[in-house]
Symmetry: C2
Subunit: 219 residues, 2 copies
DNA sequence: TCATTATTTGACAAATTGTCAATATAAAAT
DNA sequence: ATTTTATATTGACAATTTGTCAAATAATGA
């Protein structure tokens, strides 16, 4: 047996064992998600999560250092899901209108299909995030989203489509906050989906559009 | 002794006793605020709050049914403070520009003077708010703020200053979310106060302003 | 099969949260 | 001033929740 294969044998587990591990984690994460959304963070005990996942209580702590870590993992998973959907949608958008409406629609559809998940994820991000002052932490997904809007704005400015007196970082964050409105739970008072999304899209576009640009902001 | 005076004696406490009660509560609330902001919700124990407030551990539960109730009280207090400042400021505003800029400035000044408080309050509102489906709960302060913006928008529409194809409830919420950007902690990357506030104010005003209206939205 | 390693488990320990009988303080009555 | 009554506080204690680890179980490779 070569040295290489020895090393392989050490850090690559058997397929069955590996599958078991990832399955356990997924089951725990799915259970955590359901309970955190249903009952909220406080009324969800690691015990409950383990039971619903069908694993022993101790197993919980094999995959999450503590309850907070589990919650963070839940938030990250939810955000990654939405992020993936948004990226797919943005890939086929050509105008700013399509982009804004697209992101809103994706977020809204996700919220309908997964009530409470995005809301909890948004709130959690803020409440959990500690200062970490000093350490160069990588950008959170929320900051990444803001950064992406900033890039969109910068490009729009270069094309003369967006007011060039805007600071892209600031307005990028502002646009992001507007899009977060859709995850505030489904409000009946806000009318149907089309009405709701059209309103928000108009507000953002009118806020961005430079005077010269035509009615529709073409990419 | 008349029946009335008996009743008075029962439900009106002595002044000294009453003062003691409210003082205890205030001390607890101030301690809770400091610790919730400094260490976050999880790393703050009722014990710690009591100790910092200089009262016994049991006293905590005389004023708050549990830890969550204490946190809610903290959030409400912080929101009420900001609300009071905002109302004072709005009272002297005549144009929409003054209103938007004013609310942003008040929020930002508060955030500078009380780092982390508004951020925690915002996040807390969302994470703590349970569904309470069925019960007719009064509007939360956040919903009240959104409602106020909605009224501003409705008036602006009637005066022909704001796009009349907007649903005030929806856009009111959107404006609120934009204003919440200032409580996301002080970002150095966002430049100085004037730069930051001017950017956000412009974005909101341009999003609102009807085509006919002059550059500055006069009330 | 059997030795070795990886994974799971639930009883247990630690920490946190919440309760209450005892105590202290203030107000009212005599 | 003293007693009585009502109110407020306290910290030891109980209940719950969170986290650990030695023992048990399952998978791997020879």
């Amino acid at each position: 047996m070569s040295t290489q294969s020895k090393i392989d044998a050490i850090d690559s587990r058997g397929a069955r064992q590996d599958q078991r591990r990832t399955e356990s984690r997924q089951r725990l994460l799915a259970a955590a998600r359901q309970l955190f959304v249903e009952r909220g963070y406080h009324d969800t005990r690691p015990q409950d999560i383990s039971r619903l996942a069908g694993v022993g209580h101790g197993t919980f702590y094999l995959y999450f250092s503590d309850k907070q870590a589990c919650f963070r993992a839940f938030v990250e998973q939810a955000q990654a899901e939405v992020d993936s959907l948004i990226m797919k949608r943005l890939a086929v958008c050509r105008t700013h209108e399509e982009r804004v409406y697209g992101v809103l629609e994706v977020s809204m559809d996700f919220t309908k299909a997964n009530p409470g998940v995005l809301k909890a994820a948004w709130a959690g991000h803020q409440l959990m995030s500690s200062d970490d002052s000093g350490s160069a932490t990588s950008l959170s997904i929320v900051e990444q989203w803001a950064e992406r809007w900033a890039e969109v704005i910068t490009r729009g400015q270069k094309a003369g489509l967006i007011w060039d007196d805007y600071d892209p970082k600031i307005i990028g964050y502002a646009v992001l906050m507007v899009t977060s409105v859709v995850s505030t739970g489904t409000r009946e008072a806000w009318g149907d989906k089309e009405h709701f999304l059209t309103n928000l899209t108009r507000f953002v576009l009118r806020g961005l559009a430079a005077p010269g640009a035509g009615g529709a902001l073409s990419s």
